[in-house]
């Protein structure tokens, strides 16, 4: 693991030697369990996720949406790997992933063009 910044130092504590999540992935708001330890792989991919703040709207015109481009994600190739997760309806070719219990989100990203890729943004979840 690269440790050039504080962020990646923090990150390395979340990743086991085999590149998987060493901790449970939990909803930041309600603690609902999204992934069990050792079930997802750390992946670098730049993905735009609309803001989790209440006011911003998820609309199909991305230009008007407030959000972040995030690059560190937990990747799984099968949706049944998730303990609990919700999928929004389609926004273009994207489905956003949300907490299955309190529905906060988006916490992740899935493209309908790649049925074997599901991403959960590290910055949008807790690890414990």
């Amino acid at each position: 693991m690269d440790q050039e910044s504080k962020e990646s130092t923090d990150r390395s504590s979340l990743v086991s030697d085999d590149g998987k999540n060493s901790k449970s992935v939990l909803c930041q708001r309600c603690g609902s369990k999204v992934l069990c330890p050792g079930t997802a792989v750390l992946a670098e991919k730049e993905l735009f996720l609309p803001s989790m703040r209440k006011k911003s709207g998820l609309s199909s015109t991305e230009a008007s949406v407030d959000g972040d481009t995030l690059s560190a994600h937990w990747f799984v190739d099968d949706m049944y790997t998730f303990e609990n997760v919700g999928f929004t309806k389609d926004v273009g070719r994207i489905k956003y992933l949300i907490c299955a219990d309190c529905e906060i989100g988006p916490i992740g990203w899935h493209s309908l063009d790649d049925k074997k890729s599901f991403y959960i943004a590290l910055d949008r979840v807790n690890h414990a």
Binding site: C30, G31, C36, G38, Y80, G86, F87, E103, H110
Partner: protein, 243 residues
């Protein structure tokens, strides 16, 4: 919150059961890697159907306060959820589809029904017409759903008892006329009986299954992310809204 529904969550950090939990002194970090994550034992698809406004979506939710992300909620909406329950020592992944927005009977594609192992049919105990719609929903179930699908009739909005129009007995009577249909009343608003609905349904589904079959066949019978695109000619395109 029903603790039973939350078993996976409370086991945070344990990666599912079966670990060396008898030795609390062991370093969790070094140990953890040696336990392979426990996969789900079963995967089941459940759909929630019923007339407009009966509270189908609320049955999928845990919290009904307004603090969740409005962006997801009202603009885009939730398509389906993966939820994990543990029952009879098995870990079961549920894929739960809410058909809200497709309430006109014929606008729900047959694909939703076809793969469902459990069907939750909801009416509103304060609205006569939602109860009168039940036979029409049953027709759809008869037409498209697997004969083995477990059926559960839910009279929702028990929190509005003072406005009740449909008696508990009426609901019971309707369910008793359909073989194998279970009945309960619930309040999604108060989270009363909501988790039980899913647990009950899953329990029924599990008890019907010969155990050897389940693991192999089920994992393959699970629907993919989207219902099959194929739509029978007599049905309008999926996701049709009424206005």
């Amino acid at each position: 919150m029903d603790p039973r529904y939350d078993i996976p969550r409370r086991a945070a950090g344990g990666g599912g059961g079966g670990s060396a939990n008898s030795s609390p002194a062991l370093g969790a970090q070094s140990r953890r890697r040696k336990m392979p994550p426990r996969p789900a034992d079963f995967k089941l698809q459940i759909i929630i159907i019923g007339s407009r406004g009966v509270g189908k979506t609320s049955l999928m939710e845990r919290f009904t306060d307004d603090t969740f992300c409005e962006a997801c909620k009202s603009t885009v909406g939730v398509d389906f959820k993966i939820k994990t329950v543990e029952l009879r020592g098995k870990k079961i992944r549920l894929q739960i589809w809410d058909t809200a927005g497709q309430e006109r009977f014929n606008s729900i594609t047959s694909a939703y029904y076809r793969g469902a192992k459990g069907i939750v049919l909801v009416y509103d105990i304060t609205k006569q017409e939602t109860f009168e719609d039940l036979p029409k929903w049953m027709k759809m179930i008869d037409k498209y759903a697997s004969e083995e699908a477990e059926l559960l009739l839910v009279g929702n909005k028990l929190d509005c008892e003072t406005d009740r129009i449909i008696s508990r007995q009426q609901g019971e009577r309707f369910a008793s006329r359909i073989s194998g249909m279970r009945f309960c009343e619930a309040s999604a608003k108060d989270n009363f009986n909501v988790d039980e609905i899913f647990l009950k349904l899953v329990d029924d589904i599990l008890s019907k299954m010969p155990l050897e079959v389940t693991n192999k066949e089920l994992s393959n019978s699970v629907l993919s992310l989207q219902p099959e695109p194929e739509v029978p000619p007599e049905l309008p395109p999926p996701r049709m809204r009424c206005c």
